[in-house]
Symmetry: C2
Subunit: 412 residues, 2 copies
């Protein structure tokens, strides 16, 4: 466990908000040295000012102390070092140039065109360091998109088609509270970055990696051939149940909800036995899949009637005992506390640099376990500029006087 | 564009169904040589027998010809070579051992414990080739999970909490038609695989990479601090609109639906001008964010009333013209035909090995654009065993007689 996969790789992190910082969080967990560059004039990453904050008295809507950190930053800032740098100042760009010369990877999620205006785009970085992999995450791609080009998660969800894969025909589109548009793009960005690092390690040449939120989420939607399925009469919006896989879907129990997925004969017969109707296993309506699909409504009603007055735990145990896959529907609060997920470190307790581990709060881990390497997010989020002097001194070799001058000039 | 990022890397692909094959599809698009190992006795990957099929007459529920391929395989089999191999036969395992010796990566998505029973688990592969990265994708992790351990996508969605981030309080959980459980795990598996490849290229040692569907999706849910938000009074299930960001959400127009995301003063004032109510910009209920949140229902009603009798295109154009981010809600059929997404190759036309590009069908691409490398999925899916002789002959150096004997023995 002594060495992490990306040990020795330096990432210059120019990202803010969610999509970009989640990409660099994963790179940090995998062992890269992530140097987060933040604007001293605006208070750094906007996520630092997202309510709620962790205070000495626990969670609060407002800061009690200037050092209180937002939960967003506590989650996304782990395993990163914070350096302040004003990129609109020519001296700031010179410091950034030195960072890029020392880097293996640059990640940015400015709006399309901004890095060119700031004079820090891929062409500039490549001149400084031909080996560097320069990754851009944007709403519609590095060349920009239609309209205002504002790529908020809900806009991306709407355009990608994903909202129309849930709910039933005629119902409104379904907006997810989980920002899947913001969260899927960084996964592809990390894949592209690492593939380009493999290539750069081999060839000595980096390149520009360009991932769009719209393209990422639409590509995920296009993993399923929704229009081919509809063309042969398999509608994709069917509400809580899926008649073509009956018995299949979400059912209400007395104290909650559960999912049952029993499309095969073996599973379906187990489900019938679980609801105390073994007599129906040989019934021509339910014995084979074609019959179950034709009689899906009746079958789903039988299950719903049986489950309605029982506890979720009882219903799930009965289905499982008869070999039919079933599970309770959990809310996020319960889900992130799953003992197996905790044991595997896929979700971890959240730590504050001052208060230590805060037992009540949970945060995303790196959901990748490796036999010979650690992928734990084990260093708490940094204060704004906490590592400025260390990085400029140790990594870039700047003397104390030069750092002092840059501080006085407002560059840092 | 002459060299792909993973050029020269060999992936032995033991996966079936969706999660595993999507991981190796991405590795193939990034330039790895993906050798898909399929069981000759069962007709290979089960996806080969997923209706619908592409026939000479177009899409059909049933095959017309033995060579007709399923849409699932046409999508997931691209940029892969197919080798048949019976892994229950000791001679089959010997051939697999030779493949593993030639490989950089092995990917499998058997149920937990199966590779050990077959005698082809990570320990076995490591003995043969210490450099190999061996990636497992499973429902609950390589050590198995609770209950039946059947990890169907809907079961994973239920357990992960994601179903309770959509809809409104008291409403049933929301099942997504897009199998996000199946699709997110392979993204983390590719990230873990590539990170381990970077490490193996550096150290000469591979390792086991273990990704669970439940851990992957729960980790994604834990990117947002849902319980911290609820603790300070920001409920996460709010239906189509989000009062705390008002005006924000999904609205009905005459001929469809649209998303409006206008939480800032500038966006919100633009939205009021767009609905021809510039008089309300200075109204104390709507001028500042606190007022808009307190009067969210009234604000959303104003917008809903104005949009209801207008076309989606008109409504979106009005919002956009006034600087308020808005977009139509598209269904998957329309979304995968977005011109920008097509131009960037994030979704591509689907090709059949016999019929060529089938203009009507679309399939996922690799949504990662690289300045100096190609990531196109440009080779159509293989027939079952199409590359058996070529791979055994060229890559493993088997003579014709040996291949003939293995064929006669039913090993291939």
């Amino acid at each position: 466990m002594s060495e992490r996969p990306l040990q020795g790789k330096v990432v210059v992190d120019l990202t803010t908000a969610l999509a970009g910082p989640y990409a660099t969080l994963l790179l940090g967990g995998l062992g890269a040295r992530v140097i987060k560059v933040e604007n001293p004039d605006t208070g750094g990453d906007a996520s630092r000012n997202n309510s709620p904050y962790l205070t000495a008295d626990g969670l609060g809507v407002r800061r009690q102390d200037a050092d209180d950190m937002s939960v967003s930053m506590l989650v996304r800032g782990r395993n990163k070092e914070s350096v302040t740098l004003n990129l609109k100042d020519p001296q700031g760009r010179e410091v950034l140039a030195d960072l890029v010369r020392a880097a293996d990877v640059v990640v940015e999620n400015y709006s399309a065109g901004v890095t060119a205006r700031l004079g820090i785009d891929h062409e500039w970085a490549r001149e400084l360091n031909p080996r560097v992999v320069y990754t851009s995450i944007s709403g519609f791609g590095a060349q920009g998109g239609p309209g205002s080009g504002k790529a908020m998660d809900t806009i991306i969800q709407a355009l990608s088609g994903v909202m129309m894969t849930a709910g039933a025909p005629g119902e409104p589109p379904v907006r997810f509270g989980l920002p899947v548009g913001d969260l899927v793009a960084p996964l592809y960005a990390v894949i592209g970055t690492l593939a380009a690092v493999v290539q750069a390690d081999r060839t000595g040449r980096g390149q520009h990696v360009d991932v769009s939120m719209l393209g990422a989420l639409t590509s995920l939607v296009a993993c399923e051939p929704f229009d081919a399925l509809e063309e042969i009469g398999l509608p994709t919006r069917t509400g809580p149940t899926v008649p073509r896989l009956a018995p299949f879907g979400i059912f209400a129990a007395r104290d909650g909800w559960l999912a049952l997925c029993a499309p095969t004969n073996s599973f379906a017969h187990g489900a019938l036995r679980a609801i105390e109707r073994p007599d129906l296993v040989g019934d021509p309506r339910f014995a084979e899949r074609d019959g179950r699909v034709a009689n899906a409504a009746a079958l789903h009603d039988l299950i719903a009637d049986w489950a309605r007055d029982r506890d979720v735990a009882t219903v799930c145990a009965a289905f499982t005992a008869h070999g039919a896959p079933a599970a309770e529907v959990r809310d996020p609060r319960a889900a992130v506390r799953d003992p197996l997920v905790a044991q595997r470190g896929e979700v971890v307790p959240l730590a504050d640099p001052r208060f230590g581990t805060v037992a009540e709060l949970r945060a995303t881990g790196v959901p990748i376990r490796m036999s010979d390497s650690d992928t734990t997010l084990d260093r708490p989020a940094p204060r704004l500029g906490q590592h400025t002097e260390a990085v400029l001194g140790e990594l870039l070799g700047y003397g104390e006087d030069r750092i002092e001058d840059l501080l006085k000039a407002g560059v840092l």
